[in-house]
């Protein structure tokens, strides 16, 4: 049992990190990182197109009317499941294959298992899309995956946990915060998935099943996406900035705060329901407590950036990361209001919530994952640099601006809808008032998709471009500029 806290004197082969060559004894299986990233990008494009398609229904110009497999509701599921399990989960898996071995200095438990998980996961995703399009969705929010896929997906998650736990458990000594987040995420994700997909399906009904549903939705975003996202930021930001995180102690306060208070939040999805009021109040209060947890994270990252602000200009990954953090703070501030019963009266069921969902899922975690891929893709593809640096600028600016437009558009639409409903305006009138906002959503969505195609083009051209001139292990410092564009 080696102590990972001690600085190692001999480094294991990293697996041709920059060159991507195979070979035994390597630490990181770069091919897998690359495959997960590429599949993540593919699912991002497909699910965004699905979102755009569905948004046409709101404009009453749905292009594929009357064809069962193109019925808009089914494409909404493809959109939401695609972004969560196809884009976010795939890129996270790639990231874990890079980070865990480097943090623990040990490869994953089994490389064969990693490949098995990769193919199983893509199989689960394709089966989910096909099942949803054939109308086999379950009536469970965020658990719409066809019922026969649930056990396979759960098995996949257990295998993922085992594969990464083995190297983690072999380390000794005080752990870096990223490891805390990852370890907890593996356990939580398995538990949350089992709870959300099996309890309401087989054991419970009525309001209790609803409460479990709420717990499931929130725990999925809070105990799967959030810890992996934060853990990833605590790892990559110091590395790119070349300086340690401001306060490791504070980062641990954030971790334990998340661990104890996030699971209490679930019921804030079902305020004003028959769920007992003491639980609803409890959820509101613990949601506000989580805001403070989030603040610890934000404070830590901005204190770390102090003195390195120019990196926001020169390093594209850092720019994605910190834009995501600003959005995170924005959306969490928004959440502190939206979770109160006063705001709930107005905004529940409106587009305000959809605005929140997009800002946090894409504007925060999506942006972090894009930054990660900008940083790592050339290395795992064995390239010196990106095909084009200016395409990164286009990608960043179009995405960030269209994301902001979509967020404000949906937030304002939500407020208008909420107030009109409160004042008992006729339904048709509220639809008419919402229509311009839905048009703006579709337009900003189109811009967002366009930007992702720019990124995909840059990836493709980098991939088919020249391999790194130097063999693995001899990449010049200049190649770093490929990741930190000037």
């Amino acid at each position: 049992m080696a102590d990972t806290t001690a600085t190692p004197t001999t480094m294991p082969a990293v697996g041709g990190g920059s060159g991507g060559q195979g070979g035994d004894g390597k630490l990181v299986e770069t091919t897998l990182v690359k495959w997960h990233f590429l599949m993540g990008i593919a699912f991002l494009l497909v699910s965004m197109l699905a979102g755009l398609l569905y948004s046409m229904q709101f404009l009453q110009h749905y292009p594929l009317k009357g064809i069962a497999i193109f019925s808009p509701g089914r494409w909404r599921f493809v959109h939401t499941n695609g972004v969560a399990y196809g884009f976010i989960a795939n890129v996270f898996l790639g990231m874990l294959h890079w980070v865990v071995p480097r943090l623990t200095l040990r490869p994953v438990a089994s490389r064969a298992l990693s490949y098995f998980i990769f193919f199983t996961w893509q199989g689960v995703l394709v089966a989910t899309v096909v099942g949803l399009l054939l109308g086999e969705a379950q009536a469970l929010e965020w658990g719409e995956t066809p019922v026969w896929i649930d056990p396979v997906a759960l098995l996949g998650l257990i295998l993922v946990a085992i594969n990464f736990f083995v190297p983690m458990m072999k380390t000794t000594g005080p752990m870096y915060v990223t490891m805390w987040y990852f370890m907890a995420a593996f356990v939580w994700t398995v538990l949350v998935y089992a709870m959300g997909n099996f309890l309401p399906e087989y054991h419970m009904n009525g309001v209790a099943a609803g409460a479990i549903g709420g717990l499931f939705i929130h725990d999925l975003v809070g105990l799967f996406v959030t810890p992996l996202g934060w853990g990833m930021m605590y790892y990559f930001v110091p590395i790119i900035l070349r300086k340690p995180i401001w306060s490791h102690g504070l980062s641990l306060v954030g971790f334990w705060g998340l661990a104890f208070f996030y699971p209490l939040n679930g019921i804030h999805h079902f305020l004003y329901t028959p769920i007992p009021m003491f639980l609803q109040y409890g959820a509101v209060i613990s949601t506000i407590a989580v805001e403070l947890v989030v603040t610890t994270v934000i404070v830590n990252f901005f204190m770390t950036l102090r003195g390195s602000g120019d990196q926001l200009r020169t390093s594209i990954p850092i720019r994605w990361f910190y834009t995501g953090m600003v959005f995170y703070f924005t959306t969490c501030l928004q959440c502190a209001f939206q979770t109160t019963l006063t705001f709930q009266k107005i905004i529940h069921f409106t587009d305000w919530v959809v605005g929140h969902a997009h800002l946090v899922m894409f504007g925060v975690f999506g942006f972090w994952l894009l930054g990660l891929m900008v940083y790592l893709l050339p290395r795992v593809m064995g390239r010196d640099r990106w095909y084009s640096e200016s395409l990164h600028e286009w990608h960043y600016w179009i995405t960030a601006i269209s994301m902001l437009i979509m967020f404000f558009d949906l937030t304002i639409a939500g407020l208008i809808q909420g107030y009109m409903w409160r004042d008992l305006a006729p339904w048709e009138e509220t639809l008419r008032a919402s229509a311009p906002f839905w048009l703006v959503r579709s337009i900003s969505g189109t811009a967002m998709i366009f930007a992702q195609f720019i990124f995909a083009y840059n990836v493709l051209m980098t991939l088919i471009g020249k391999r790194a001139k130097q063999p693995a292990g001899e990449v010049s410092p200049a190649s770093q500029e490929g990741y930190a564009t000037a």
Binding site: T4, T5, A6, T7, P8, M11, A13, V14, G17, L27, R102, P174, Y176, V177, A184, L191, M195, L199, H203, G206, A211, I212, L215, Y235, P238, I239, R242, K243, P244, I245, S247, G249, L250, L252, V253, W256, G257, A259, F260, F261, P263, L264, G266, I275, P276, F278, L279, G282, S286, A289, L292, V293, R379, Q470, A472, G473, V475, S476, P477, Q480
Partner: protein
């Protein structure tokens, strides 16, 4: 800037304590109240909400797991030298990168003086 180091330490410690007091304490009180109300429901003091026992129990199971982990971490000295892991992680990564030929040209020893802890 070696002279600034003690100030930085102090700032970190104060921030840590402020956050602990500002949110861990109220959250602990809130949690105790919830626990009390939950017990009341379970004991049948109120008929309202017995159907919520399973969902809430679910939370407690996870909570107990986290509590065990916290106890294990504390007894295993995970928080003893609390700032050390951040320096180790960075140093390890620098060595890994350099073993691949990716040199950390802007790496500042000021930021990151080997395994020295600030605590």
């Amino acid at each position: 800037m070696p002279a600034a180091a003690p100030d930085k330490d102090r700032a970190q410690r104060i921030t840590l304590i402020v956050f602990l007091v500002v949110f861990l304490l109220p959250a602990a009180v809130g949690f105790a109240i919830k626990l009390y109300e939950f017990m009341a429901v379970a004991n049948g003091a109120t008929s309202e909400g017995t159907f919520m026992l399973v969902p809430v129990l679910n939370y407690f199971i996870v909570f107990m797991g986290m509590l065990c982990m916290l106890a294990w971490a504390t007894t295993n000295g995970m928080f003893r030298d609390i700032e050390k892991p951040k320096f180790d992680m960075l140093e390890r990564e620098r060595q890994l990168d350099e073993s691949e030929g990716v040199l950390w040209d802007v790496f500042s020893s000021d930021n990151h003086s080997s395994n020295k802890s600030t605590d």
